[in-house]
């Protein structure tokens, strides 16, 4: 039960966000020009930003986009890392050496710099949606080497485990070894990595957004909304500017609990 609590709370947060998006009369990009930089009012429970956009709606959308994008990116990253790690673990040692060399090389690239280049190559007219997709895709493509080595070592452990050797001694076919012995153990190998990956990507998106390199306006993202915290006048005028960062911290904490729980059960 304790294990499920963070999951349940996360799902509740996401559900609440959907309800907000559904029930609120405002869209994330609609500007309410009569109430700019508003504090909490009846029409805008969490106030508005400097363009008069409803903060609650934007925070809700940012939460969904952040978690959704990070999860999707984490899935891709872990699949890539699993492919590389498993291939290396079950291949002759020279293949493993080459793969790990490539992965480590990849890891040592100045990826923030690369990201800037990629983003600056995008035409200014790129739709906000494209920038969102590309941001998360780039994270996914850059993120895998960090997980490949862990997965490689885990898979090595499976390969040289005594039950795997016993399987061979029982004459199991290569196919059987993979399906019966390797696959059932992948869950406990990959899942913790997946749960470590999501918060890392959430943070990465927030940081990139704060640098102006993330998801483009007017799509709400944690990064873009954190930019607001730059505005001292705003900080003084309303506490509600802290809503997005409070949500981000909450989500990160829940994911952290989830990870440690998942690890404790492996």
């Amino acid at each position: 039960m304790k294990r499920l609590l963070p999951v349940v709370l996360l799902l509740l947060l996401m559900l609440a966000s959907m309800v907000v998006l559904r029930l609120s009369p405002w869209r994330y990009a609609t500007q309410d020009r009569v109430s700019i930089l508003a504090s909490s009012t009846l029409t805008h429970p969490a106030g508005t930003d400097e363009l008069g956009r409803d903060r609650l709606v934007r925070a809700a959308a940012a939460l969904l986009i952040g978690i959704g994008g990070a999860s999707a990116a984490a899935t891709i990253t872990i699949l890539l890392a699993a492919a590389a790690g498993l291939l290396a673990a079950f291949s002759p040692s020279w293949v493993a050496a080459v793969l790990l060399f490539l992965s480590d090389g990849f890891l040592s690239l100045p990826w923030l710099f690369l990201l800037m280049i990629v983003r600056s190559m995008l035409p200014l007219t790129a739709s906000p949606l494209t920038t969102a997709v590309i941001t998360f895709l780039v994270l996914a493509l850059l993120g895998w080497p960090a997980f490949a080595r862990t997965i490689f070592h885990g898979a090595r452990g499976i390969r040289s485990s005594e039950w795997m050797i016993h399987g061979r001694a029982s004459g199991l076919t290569a196919r059987q070894l993979i399906l019966v012995h390797v696959f059932p153990n992948l869950g406990s190998l990959l899942l913790p990595q997946f749960f470590v990956c999501i918060p890392a990507f959430l943070m990465a998106e927030a940081n990139l957004g704060a640098l102006g390199l993330g998801v483009g306006e007017p799509i709400p993202s944690w990064g873009a909304m954190l930019l607001e915290l730059d505005n001292t006048a705003l900080l003084i005028s309303t506490r509600w500017v802290f809503l997005p960062i409070a949500l981000l911290v909450l989500v990160l904490l829940l994911l952290e609990f989830l990870t440690s729980e998942a690890n404790a059960h492996v």
Binding site: S160, S161, I165, R168, A169, S170, L172, T173, V180, N185
Partner: protein, 319 residues
């Protein structure tokens, strides 16, 4: 020589460190050969090398392992696979780590069955019942098979592994310290089970153990593994004549003189072996050696369940 089901000559090393140096022995049909040696002498290494699996254990081996006149170490992986588990059964040393923690016992049996049999679930069910009874595991309790290795006792795991090893009626059984993880009662039950297998069904056995007494009880010959080779290999009933220092040291560790033990076992265990020649023993069915036989079943009538000997069934789940 055609009487041998297994002829072995092996050199094995981990990295630069040689563990087995041109170790050689052979095994006749129905014969039980005991291999003793101190911890780290290379017994498990020998087992892995025998099966052509030392590479997966981090070592390298050269030499030959002749089974049915063919060298296992020179075969394609495909050919070797068809021998492992079908002609050679392995009871591994550590029961708890030899089973995959992520899958059920049933999945283990299914995989082992399908590796060599194309017949369906019905045949497996039948055989599974038999082998579970053979090793005194609950054969009627479907819930037992649905457990995972973490949910059974070490003794039960050992029995599961023995049942797995016997699944295809192998003609050679390799037992790597099969009783080391067990309590004395279970130990002697397992020894009796193995005894029945070799005596009645003519299964040739390589019995590896620290425990000299169980070797005396079970085996026809004793090989002492020392310094990477077989220091001495002599028939058990002539053990008193052993000369090698390593063998004498081993005897020195016994609670009673070897002659007393031998007399004891001769009187108790082998009333039938008046003829001084082994391996032919009255009960040994020697038909299952060599030739590419497709029917590997053991005679039906010979129940080899331990309970048959009056030792009494005890409830495994009490443990």
């Amino acid at each position: 020589m055609s009487g041998h089901v297994l002829q072995v000559q092996l050199t094995a090393a981990y990295g630069k460190r040689a563990v087995l140096r041109d170790l050689a022995f052979d095994l006749s049909a129905g014969e039980a050969l005991g291999v003793v040696g101190s911890s780290g002498a290379g017994k498990t290494t020998l087992v892995m090398a025998l099966l052509g699996l030392l590479a997966f254990h981090g070592g390298r081996s050269t030499g030959k392992v002749l089974i049915q006149g063919k060298n296992l170490l020179r075969m394609t992986e495909r050919e070797a696979r068809r021998i492992r588990g079908r002609l050679i059964g392995l009871i591994p040393q550590s029961p708890m780590t030899a089973l995959n923690p992520a899958i059920t016992l049933e999945a283990h049996f299914q995989a082992a069955w399908r590796a060599h049999e194309s017949t369906g679930n019905q045949a497996l069910r039948l055989r599974l019942r038999q082998s579970l009874e053979e090793v005194q595991l609950p054969a009627d309790d479907d819930a037992f098979l649905l457990r995972k290795p973490g949910q059974i006792s070490v003794g039960q795991a050992q029995r599961v592994l023995i049942a797995l090893a016997l699944l295809h009626h192998p003609s050679i059984l390799i037992a790597d310290e099969p009783t080391s993880a067990l309590d004395p009662v279970t130990q002697s039950e397992i020894v009796k089970l193995l005894q029945r297998l070799t005596r009645r069904h003519g299964v040739a056995m390589l019995y590896i153990s620290h425990d000299l007494i169980s070797v005396l009880e079970l085996c026809d010959r004793l090989a002492v593994l020392h310094d990477g080779a077989i220091a001495e290999c002599i028939p058990v009933r002539h053990l008193e004549q052993a000369t090698h220092p390593a063998t004498r040291t081993l005897f020195g560790s016994l609670p009673v003189p070897i002659s007393v033990l031998l007399a004891h076992f001769a009187a108790r265990m082998r009333p039938q072996s008046s003829s001084d020649n082994f391996p032919p023993r009255p009960h040994a069915t020697l038909t299952r050696n060599g030739a590419a036989q497709t029917d590997h079943s053991w005679p039906e009538d010979e129940g080899i369940a331990l309970s048959a000997n009056g030792a009494g069934r005890y409830n495994l789940r009490d443990k």
